[in-house]
């Protein structure tokens, strides 16, 4: 079956440009502001929206995204409310793909079958679960694919040619290439190395390859967009959001605009890659 992710990436390919993928934490800093931000993203140029599911112990995330998760949890965010957020977004937008990204425990506690049913009904298209490698596919990956959701796998610089087939076997939607060995927001991606890695992955799969971790600026987004089918930006957007908050960590009148403005300039970077390539 075809999801919004498949459709969107196929359309962009026809247009000859890479996707701009944004990441923000659900409920950061509060549910209402979070919904307003996410609603503003497509207009600002986001092609695919990743939404983080807050977790107390995000072992692959750097300080910025850790703090975003804690702000959201402090504001009362739960997995159920994250699905509400997606439902709220879908009221006005039935085309932009939504990918939920996070850690397995909240889903496991929600109940895998119930979660998949509710996520699909809310309008979720795909899942990225950091702590579910192919060795644990029985847990969520296979049930998710059966439920009609894309299960997007992370490939990393340590995923060698021997291991890639196992990583790609049950991946759908796109492959998320983690451009650095490290946590989110910790180092800058090297476009030349990323290009080689994407080419290597593409020798093993027809799926689009989006690249994330370590992309902060419009220039970096442009360079990565030349080398891949999509560029993911998370920490830079979360930082922009954090900087707009008041001293108590609450949203201000500039919060939505701060995120939307950075999204727009990053999106221009990604779109610039297509023009430059022509």
């Amino acid at each position: 079956m075809t999801t919004r992710i498949d459709t969107r990436l196929a359309d962009l390919k026809k247009q000859g440009r890479a996707a701009f993928v944004t990441f923000l934490m659900a409920g950061d800093p509060d549910p209402a502001t979070s919904l307003a931000i996410i609603k503003a993203l497509p207009q600002a140029g986001a092609d695919i929206i990743e939404i983080g599911m807050p977790f107390t112990d995000p072992m692959a995330d750097g300080p910025a995204i850790q703090a975003a998760g804690l702000r959201a949890l402090k504001g009362g965010m739960t997995l159920r409310k994250t699905l509400d957020l997606v439902r709220g977004f879908r009221k006005d937008d039935d085309a932009t793909p939504i990918v939920l990204m996070g850690y397995y425990n909240p889903i496991y506690i929600y109940g895998v079958e119930a979660f998949l049913t509710d996520a699909k009904a809310a309008g979720v298209d795909g899942l990225i679960i950091v702590d579910l490698p192919p060795e644990e596919d029985d847990e969520l990956c296979l049930p998710a694919m059966k439920a009609g959701l894309n299960f997007i796998r992370l490939a990393t610089p340590t995923t060698d040619d021997k291991r890639l087939p196992a990583v790609l076997a049950n991946t759908s939607g796109f492959v998320y290439y983690v451009s650095i060995t490290g946590i989110t927001g910790s180092a800058a991606a090297n476009a030349a190395q990323v290009g080689e890695a994407v080419a290597r992955i593409k020798r093993h799969t027809p799926l689009p390859v989006c690249v994330g971790f370590g992309i902060r600026t419009p220039d970096a987004a442009r360079d990565i967009a030349r080398a891949a089918d999509g560029a993911v930006v998370g920490t830079a957007l979360v930082d922009a959001l954090a900087k707009s908050l008041d001293a108590e960590g609450r949203a201000t009148s500039s919060t939505v605009k701060a995120v939307a403005d950075l999204t727009a300039s990053l999106a221009q970077g990604v779109r610039g890659a297509a023009q430059a390539a022509e």
């Binding site: 692959a60 850790q66 850690y103 496991y108 796998r153 992370l154 490939a155 060995t181 490290g182 946590i183």
Partner: protein, 405 residues
Amino acid sequence: MNSRPNSFRSGPDERGHFGMFGGRFVAETLMPLILDLEKAYADAKADPAFQREMNGYLKDYVGRPSPLYFAQRLTEHLGGAKIYLKREELNHTGSHKVNNVLGQIMVARRMGKKRIIAETGAGQHGVATATLCARFGLDCVVYMGAVDVARQEPNVIRMEMLGATVVPVQSGTRTLKDAMNEALRDWVTNVHDTFYCIGTVAGPHPYPMMVRDFQSIIGHETRAQMQEAEGRLPDSLIACIGGGSNAMGLFHPFLDDPSIEIFGVEAAGHGLDKLHAASLTGGRPGVLHGNRTYLLMDADGQIQDAHSISAGLDYPGIGPEHSWLHETGRVKYISATDEEALAAFQLLSRLEGIIPALESAHAIARVIDLAPARASDHLMVVNLSGRGDKDVPQVGDILKGRKAK
């Protein structure tokens, strides 16, 4: 219902599962290394030269075997079971932790790793890791929650003297679970040259199995020593549990002796209805730090703060094999509060001249009510997993504060 297995000692399966517990829930970046480690450990285990070398260090560097000591005055005071202490606190570095660290460092050397990272709660695992890194000339970085850095200062100083870098962790609750998160973040970042020396029987497969194997020397020695002392096996075993490595080390060689009662003592903190660290008694199965196991968490699956007076037990999870032994009923898991541990700490100090670690004092606290309920020919073994030197400032402050009131 779990049916009773033929053996309690055959786990885990090839995917690292003890029943439904265990597994390998880690980021893709780490998976290739974890598979390499599994292979390297299997090779080492099968290599007689590895065993021989390890036995040499265990004897001459660690000081094994640790004595099995008949605690005569404690036995007379409590009136009941004959109490033996397995003296792991006499090991070099002052606890059972060194047994595991030695094994892992030797595996790391076989894998050609030059940089070792570790998490630590009370600092005992950190000290053991810093010690063996000094001995073998390896770089050592220890992650320790900022709260624990403050309450276990003697061990921080010790690690630094041994040449390790101690990183105080400011994220989350600033205790052991956050130290483990930060160690995992370091590992993901430096995966090419770094070996993560996990301090307990938790984490992704093969760690729970490997750490258990290295700690099982405690139980193997106890079997032989009790045979020598009493001409038979003990009737009961008791040990404290945070992640559960000292307990697993004592218990594992006895799991298939059905007549032996086995007790694990979790930290009940301020009480089981308040803040505590008793994952089996007060938690339910979830997934954290690479494995499925019992965890303290809220209805949304968010991990909750644990609390124990003892930094080494202050963790909201437990090793997956313990979760399985709990569900199969082979081991009885009970708990002791901060207050009970404090009382036991003082009792053992005064009766036997042995100052126990606050962690081990939790086991002693339950001996205080288990021993009198048993006959005088009942042989009870308590794992005295660590010495209390590191706790002297903390307990001293608490007792001084009370006197002043």
